[in-house]
Amino acid sequence: MESVLGRYRNLIILMGVLFLQVLGLAVQVKRNSNDAENTRLIRIWAVGAITPLERGLVWAQNSTGNLWHNYIYLRGVRAENRQLKDQIERMHLEQVRLSEDAAQARRLQTLLAFKEQFIAKTVAAQVIGSSASDLSRIVYIDKGEKEGLKRDMAVITANGIVGKVLLVYPSVAQVLLINDQSSGVGALLEKTRLQGVLRGTPNGEIVLERVMSDEQVPVGETVLTSGGDQIFPKGLPVGTITTVGNGKDLFLNVKVKPAADLSKLEEVLVLVEKQDRQATADDSPHVRAADILAQRLPSVPDKPATDAKPAGDSAAENTSPAAATSGEIKPQPKTGGTLDAKPQTGAKPLVPAVGQAAKVAPSSAPKAASSAVGAANEPNPAQIKPVSTPTTPAKAPSTSPAPPDESNPH
């Protein structure tokens, strides 16, 4: 017996080691292979051994890069700064225009009692490493429990969603990317509103599952999160459809190119806090594009105040606080408000700018929503009447979108 054990000692030890690992594997699979909490301790040791090196190297790399870019290599920075300032000016105008649209959309949503999920708080994190295996699409980020991260928090970039937090350690966290085969994200198509489930494939691609083969799925359509997975808020960009083919059974095989470059992630945002809240109309006073444009116009001689006064008075009547807070959608003669707010620019010379303002502030609310509010969007002659020119009020309450015209009339 002893001679047999001695002769096959190596083989017996091999079998023993393999048996132990198979046993451990079987226990994990039986519990739930995706529940990595069961093997937390051994993972903590491994991650604790590897990630400090990664953090150190990333820190050294960033420090060197910052030193070079922020203190040494500053060629062209002034010119770029000038360009960026110009760009900020342009974007400020655009932002004002968009905020008007958003306010109108919120008012409409209030009427329809939409319930929205808002991103309340995010934590920026840096990707410091990966899973050491191309079969497991996982990255490590340099934020963990200390920064308030928890399991199943969504991880995004400015371009689109990235994945979810799988495991959290004191100072690092493991993120399961959306192209891992064990990942699943509720998704819907932007235009056709078809819903499906995004899954990763073994070779790192992303497919949209559960789309019936009789549906029309256009290539190039944008895929958004549906919010059905309770991890990602609704409406975040996921990617675009690249190919559509016949899949198994009655479903289509839809491949999606992720909006975020998952192979070159550097910085990500973790959604640490979401809020479910009812959409409310924003009744706070806000700056309109017309006001900004009017401020930028060269000053012109004041006309007699008799032209502007009636318009201003009537505008004040139309924009009563009660109407604003009640969330009613009423056509607001914006030209009157502009004249009232900026009387120094004069009424008549402002006409081109006022016309512009009407174009700059289009309504981008959904048509369905517009029709839902029904008569509220009907122009009220009594409200539109007192304005400076007869043509302007007709444009102001219009709900048809018009392209912004930012050319200076002067």
Binding site: R9, N10, I13, L14, V17, L18, Q21, V22, G24, L25, A26, Q28, V29, S33, N34, A36, T39, I42, R43, W45, A46, V47, A49, I50, L53, E54, L57, V127, I128, G129, S130, S131, A132, S133, D134, L135, S136, R137, I138, V139, Y140, L166, Q174, L176, D180, Q181, S182, T201, P202, N203, S263, K264, L265
Partner: protein, 172 residues
Amino acid sequence: MPITYTSGEQVEVYRFSIPVTIGVPLLALFLQAFVPRRLPFFSYFDLPLLVTIYFAMARRNPISGLLTGAVIGLVQDCLGGHAIGLYGIAKTVVGYGASSLGVKLDVENAGARLLVTLGFYLVHGIVYFTVARGLANLTLDWSWGRGILEGLANAVLGVFLYFVLDKFKQRT
């Protein structure tokens, strides 16, 4: 003839200092986790596997080889998101096989190392594929063409890596 049959007494058995024994596998795991984020093509290489093969062949002790493979594989599993044991089992088999082969064959020259690394890369892939599909219920695609190409790339890298690691080995 790159691979020559030698008796157990003829082959050299090497050992390594403790810092090398611990540091080199850790460095391999670190690089495997860190570099592919910066250089995506690096994900085709499996540095922990190359280190497992090297230590197993140099020590020529099957028990030492299989334990080295098991530890490196399990740590690699811990860094991933799947169940722990997939890489552990595959690298245990490779470590045992490489050390057993090292006892019987002279694998000191570049040609032998190239062939041995290619062979064990395929063995590793097949064992991993089998265990992942059979035990962990993962969906994986196996391609011989891809496996051989990646095996060749790993074998070429392995030949250079082994020459670097030769500097650290000590005769018993």
